[in-house]
């Protein structure tokens, strides 16, 4: 699986020999590959007007392009804000609640993200084909898809260590602009142009996987909540800045502590581990039917509904497993 940003085809349908060669060498003779473009066909076409575009079939004959539009940017932030608002509104009747949940469209975004990641995974696992994923910039929905696809495909990404490695690779080092994207979160009225909860969407998707496959992830909800918090505001330098270059300029590694170091301390790890985990070598294929995708209560209702009874249940699960 590869990722990139959009080709700069532009209105004049420019070509680039080197780019074509690069993609050509990846595939064997007669082999086909898939390009998953996370923009709609129309959006991708329109991108040409501003210098971007898509890979034309004639120049990249062995690659088949699929469009799977995923929401990003301002609309995604709006979706997040609307959901949080609906969750905290105590006056809603049941009908209005479902309506507000639906009109936030957050769960639709979760469904779309999971479906696209599954599609990428399917291309690789079932069709044994190579996949190139890109959107516009290659820093948002692209990373969402590639990271999720790896959680689905690769059991080692589901271990605690493997997941951390995945985050480092596919989000941090790949250049997801955390500083811009995780600025003020859902309650702010500022509505910054660059703010968007892609990383949260990724964590939500991972949570859906953990719910559908309770034995397959070495970590539990705690880790995901912790990551969510630290992406926005952290005592650690892991999620600072927007890319490796900036981190290097700001001397992040020299002047801050790493979140991973903290999380990997034995006392901390205990809280993060999933007592039901049992290593398996499977590919985990989630159901993306609407009934299978649920609101992540642990995050969105964290301060609104008491988690006491559920915590007690987890404690009981832990106890049962440990006693054994």
């Amino acid at each position: 699986m590869l990722r990139s940003s959009q080709p700069l085809t532009g209105p004049n349908r420019r070509r680039c020999r080197e780019d074509e060669m690069l993609l050509g060498t990846i595939l064997d003779e007669g082999e086909r590959g898939f390009i998953i473009d996370t923009r709609s066909a129309q959006a991708a076409k329109q991108a040409r007007m501003t210098g971007g575009g898509t890979e034309p079939k004639s120049s990249y004959p062995q690659w088949r392009r699929l469009h799977r539009p995923l929401e990003r940017g301002r609309p995604l932030q709006e979706s997040f804000a609307k959901l949080v608002e609906a969750c905290s509104d105590p006056s809603l009747s049941m009908d209005r609640w479902l309506g507000r949940l639906e009109s936030s469209r957050w769960l639709s975004h979760v469904k779309a993200a999971l479906s696209t990641a599954c599609l990428a995974a399917q291309c690789m696992d079932r069709e044994e084909a190579k996949v190139l994923v890109h959107g516009a910039e290659g820093t948002d929905t692209t990373l969402l898809v590639t990271a999720l696809a790896q959680v689905i495909l690769d059991p080692s990404c589901r271990t605690l260590a493997g997941f951390q490695g995945l985050l480092e690779r596919e989000w941090i080092q790949a250049g997801h602009p955390f500083h811009l994207r995780c600025a003020h979160s859902a309650y702010s009225h500022a509505r910054l142009k660059q703010e968007a909860p892609l990383f949260l969407l990724f964590l939500d998707c991972v949570w859906q996987l953990s719910r559908q496959f309770p034995f397959s992830l070495e970590f539990g909800e705690h880790l995901l909540l912790s990551l969510f918090e630290n992406a926005y505001a952290s005592a650690y330098g892991t999620f600072l800045c927007n890319n490796e270059k900036e981190r290097s300029l700001c001397k992040v590694k020299e002047s801050t502590h790493s979140l991973w170091a903290r999380l990997n301390r034995p006392e901390e790890q205990q809280k993060l581990l999933n007592p039901l985990y049992s290593h398996n070598t499977l590919v985990i294929w989630p159901s993306v039917e609407p009934q299978s995708i649920q609101l992540w209560q642990g995050l969105f209702l964290r301060w609104i509904r008491p988690s006491q009874h559920l915590d007690e249940a987890w404690a009981e699960i832990q106890r049962l497993v440990e006693e054994n």
Partner: protein, 659 residues
Amino acid sequence: MEHIRMPKVENVRLLDRLSSRKAVVGTLYLTATHVIFVENGSETRKETWVLHSQISSIEKQATTATGCPLVIRCKNFQVIQLVIPQERDCHDVYISLIRLARPVKYEELYCFSFNPKLDKEEREQGWKLVDLNEEYNRMGVPNNYWQICDVNRDYGVCDSYPTEVYVPKSATAHIIVGSSKFRSRRRFPALSYYCKDNNASICRSSQPLSGFSARCLEDEQMLQAIRKANPGSDFIYVVDTRPKLNAMANRAAGKGYENEDNYSNIKFQFIGIENIHVMRNSLQKMLEVCELKSPSMSDFLWGLENSGWLKHIKAIMDAGIFIAKAVAEEGVSVLVHCSDGWDRTAQVCSVASLLLDPYYRTMKGFMVLIEKDWVSFGHKFNHRYGNLDGDPKEISPVIDQFIECVWQLMEQFPCAFEFNERFLIHIQHHIYSCQFGNFLCNSQKERRELKIQERTYSLWAHLWKNRADYLNPLYRSDHSQNQGTLHPQIAPCNFLYKFWSGMYNRFEKGLHPRQSVTDYLMAVKEETQQLEEELEVLGERLENLQKSQLGDNKVKSKQQDQSKQLRLSTSNNSLANTPQEYSNDLKSFPSRSPSQGDEEDSALILTQDNLKSSDPDLSANSDQESGVEDLSCRSPSGGGCLPSEDSGKDSDEAVFLAG
């Protein structure tokens, strides 16, 4: 058998809902009690059995090039889509099924032919498992305030009530009879639940025949008697579970509700729960959403909201919470009624009791609760769930809603119930299946006339025998969630109500978490127990050996054998993971068939196969989300094959090629 025009049809295709291109070919059989589809494939020959009683509707669709489609919708939410090659055959099957699914006599029902090979003594014992007298004694009655009343011993006062009810000590026979004349269907106020800690009680009745201005001295005295039976409070609540408008409209028909001016010391309260027609329509709409092919998230949420189903569930729950609070926190008695006092009243009283008393959250207690508030108090099972062919307007998912309320509570309080989701699903299944005699007819009187207990078997005994499958591993009677009353969050709480896909999408395996945490934890618990017992035995032996000073090597190896048993369980997941249809447009690549036999998800029940060597039925029939289906019924032909009462469609290979 005279209704069966065509007992056997070959080359029938059974379609899968999620992936309509996938069909299995097999043979369709019609028997006196079941519809059976047997797959043709030589290795599996998977069978799908559907009881006629479960059939809710049959739809014959327009003939296409591939054949004549027939859709069977069941009361347990199974939907079976068949394609029968010849239109003529399809028509015969259709006509036969229509008749078979609408029996006119009780004797046609399966419970009268079902034979679990138990002797007469065992059958009787089975019926005695749940004893309501014992239950009332457990509650603490009869006592100084409450006494048993036999004024209805020949059903002379109220034919939908049981022969024995509990009434306040100060309610004389005269008062009871007088009150019954002033209540719809003669359903006078009687005790449903008594709280011995504070003497508060929940009583139930039907609406008073008050019209605009009628009064009845005895009825007023009856309510006073209820109040006096609780010296700790100087008033009682009267809760009318109907919407105010409906109750008011009833006045024009000479019925209505209690006027606070006429009844001393009552506080009257409406809690609007809609009537059976609204509920029937609500379920219908929700099922339509479930039948959508590849719905978007929007379609689903809009459909769910539009049906109003969760709103109704919440309304029932809120009513139960109100009553539980009144009893537990305020120490005030409550009289509950709706129109006839056998639908919403039953729902609300049983939810309230469940919240109040941890006993009803045990397996036995739950059976007792249903027996008390639903069976004995004359809930009209026949009319509501269509045992026999009847008025379609009487059909309504009343007890289904109650069962769902219990599930919603289980989700909020995972440690508080001794039983698990599967228990609820199986109970719902059998309310409709008519395989056991518990839920037949409309009243105790009718059941006694038909001699149900002598001619059929009790579901409770069957469930009790298999109780190991129904346990909740997280339950501990000494857990904090089980001391006293449950307090569900009141507001905000809309988000706490979830769509119950385990029930309404029960037969769609692809939808559910592929790994059953409940079963795994039960196995863990069992193994721990086994190991502990083994440890004890070994400990004793060691002591003895040490005394006799003989070294014994056998001890060590046995211990190791035991611990090997469970470890393998979770790694046996390889079979169930196949992707659903994620994409519609990969046209140019041929779809690859799965490299492994993805068929049988049943092996995914992690440990049952490995640990439960006792009952072979279990492992053969386990499906991943509901575990054990009904097993001990035999086919009428005595073939002894095990029915699997699920549609048998396992998760599918990804279909790349789409039209």
